[in-house]
Amino acid sequence: MLKTLGRKWREKMEFGIFTLPVLICIAVAFYIPFAMTIRYSMTKWNGISKNPVFVGFDNFKQIFMGDTNFADSAWFTIKYAVLYIILVNMLAILLAIVLDMKLRTTSWLRAAFFVPYILSLVIVGFIWKFIFMQGFSSLSASTGWGMFDLSWLGTPGLAFISILAVSIWQSIGFYLVIYIAGLQSVPEDLKEAATVDGAGPFRKFFSITLPLLAPSITISVFMALTNSIKVFDVILSLTGGGPGGTTYSVAYDIYRDTFQNNLYGYGTAKALILFLAVLVVTIIQLSIFKRREVEA
């Protein structure tokens, strides 16, 4: 009796020792900052004065009623996220199908497309800034093509396309390897059977490959969504929010308000809105895709 009691107590003790470190780490990294974020979001504070002034929901009212910066950056982020998710996944599937044809150079190609993904986004932004600003003028001189004469970072619409293209360039290798792994799990005999039944390449793609790729698509769209909604680093180094403040994302707008304008309370209120947006979008997306996958 006493012995089992002793064992019970020992087990509890061990459970505590094994789990406490991670709980402390996560609390320090997430839960405590998050609780403080909620508190600050209802204050007016510049970070210098001793005490934040409690203002209730005023920050949120102001953000939704009359903050054009926030509205613009939200619109930018939505446009960016939608186009990024669609384009990066379509291009990656296309490339993956070609690489799945067992070419002699497949391993080189896969490595080549993957390389930018191991580089820091800030660095990638600077490299492309150099290409757009200096490289394009040299390319224009040697090819005479008009597209190299455009101001890719200095015109609002083009700067948006540049950011999108650079993000896709950096990350397509990641989606590519996920889709290649997905394609390799499509049974070869299934494809052969379809060929025997007289299905052409398009028919085969839409009725066999695509449905069986559904799990890979779920993962990739999920990753593309969570990454694009938080886009920040690449914009910082590529355009710095310009031209004329047209390329601020929500994350960058939060950074600007908090650390450049010292609006601590107001910035954290925006940060909380970003969190809620991520939460809602994630839940919606996971529930939609889970349903789809069962059908496939």
């Binding site: 459970f15 020792i17 094994f18 789990t19 470190p21 991670v22 709980l23 780490c25 996560i26 609390a27 320090v28 990294a29 997430f30 839960y31 900052p33 998050f34 403080m36 600050y40 070609v98 044809m101 070419l103 002699r104 150079t105 080189w108 190609l109 490595a111 080549a112 993957f114 390389v115 993904y117 191991i118 580089l119 820091s120 986004l121 800030v122 660095i123 600077f126 490299i127 492309w128 150099f130 290409i131 200096q134 490289g135 003028s137 390319l139 360039w169 990641f174 996920i178 792994a181 993962i219 938080k230 920040f232 650390f259 954290t268 940060a271 970003l274 969190f275 991520v278 939460l279 994630t282």
Partner: protein, 277 residues
């Protein structure tokens, strides 16, 4: 018929190789321009350097104190990694093995933060790390990553431990092993493949991370990382592209060298991490 499909295959192959070379062209331009003089960069970006200018490298090397930055990155990444693997593996193991309401709740609390974007908490993270003294040293910055890396690591480890039969624990207990000894001598070796996955994902993330070091460096310049130094360096030398490109090459070179040697493992690890995450 057969020969036709063979020739179309060669065409596809050639097109793809050309495409991949174009894809990597920006990196090629970056490298060749880091060996040019200022005048040459300004007149022609795409031409090969007339002669290799190594002084760009010696200049940047000294100016940003490259060896120190490299060490900073090593220290931050190593400390971050060791901590993430240690705290996450032991916790995930216990949480997966214990079937109770509390265990379930704690597991949920561990993985839930994956939904919190870093930008939502960056200001308050900065304040807390200043208060508890983690913002002013490389090891402190490394320790901060423990909490940020733990949710994904716990999630991946937890899923894997569930697939390890309980009998292994039981027979080890009969042999007299328990607690940490049981975990580290019997269970942890079985987690090798997932640990590799976690190490790869986290090294890529911590080594290249930008925002956290950027915020922390206001606490102390001693915690500067390679990426951050390249960022501030380019900010100071906006028109000296030859130096900027040299700094870029020096910042990305370690990653590319590691990738060339460990390519297979990196790709495998990234796929495994995404599929399980």
């Amino acid at each position: 018929m057969k020969t036709q499909s063979k020739s179309s295959r060669i065409i596809i192959e050639v097109v793809m190789v050309i495409l991949s070379l174009l894809f990597l062209y920006p990196l090629f331009l970056t490298i060749i321009n880091s060996f040019k003089s200022f005048g040459e960069v300004m007149t022609d970006v795409i031409a090969l350097p007339k002669q290799l200018v190594f002084s760009n490298y010696t200049y940047v090397w000294q100016f940003i104190n490259y060896p120190k930055l490299f060490m900073n990155n090593m220290v931050i990444t190593t400390i971050g990694l060791l901590g993430i693997v240690f705290v996450s593996s032991i916790a995930a193991y216990k949480l997966a093995r214990t079937k109770s309401k509390w265990s379930g709740i704690l597991y949920f609390l561990c993985i839930m933060p994956m939904l919190i974007p870093f930008q939502s908490i960056m200001l308050t993270v900065l304040q807390i790390s200043k208060n508890i003294g983690l913002s002013e040293s490389t090891w402190g910055l490394g320790v901060l990553y423990w909490g940020f890396g733990a949710p994904l690591a716990v999630f991946i480890y937890h899923g894997f431990v569930k697939g390890i039969p309980m009998e292994i624990d039981e027979s080890a207990t009969i042999d007299g092993a328990s607690g940490f000894r049981l975990f580290f001598s019997v269970i942890f070796p079985l987690l090798k493949s997932v640990t590799t996955t976690i190490v790869i994902i986290d090294v890529m993330w911590i080594w290249n991370d930008f925002l956290l070091p950027l915020l922390m460096v206001n606490g102390s310049p001693d915690t500067k990382t390679l990426t951050l130094a390249a960022y501030t360096f380019v900010g100071q030398y906006t028109s000296d592209w030859q130096y900027a490109m040299t700094a870029m090459v020096m910042a990305v070179l370690p990653s590319i060298v590691v990738f060339i040697f460990l390519q297979k493992y990196i790709v495998k690890g990234v796929v495994a991490g995404a599929v399980k995450g």
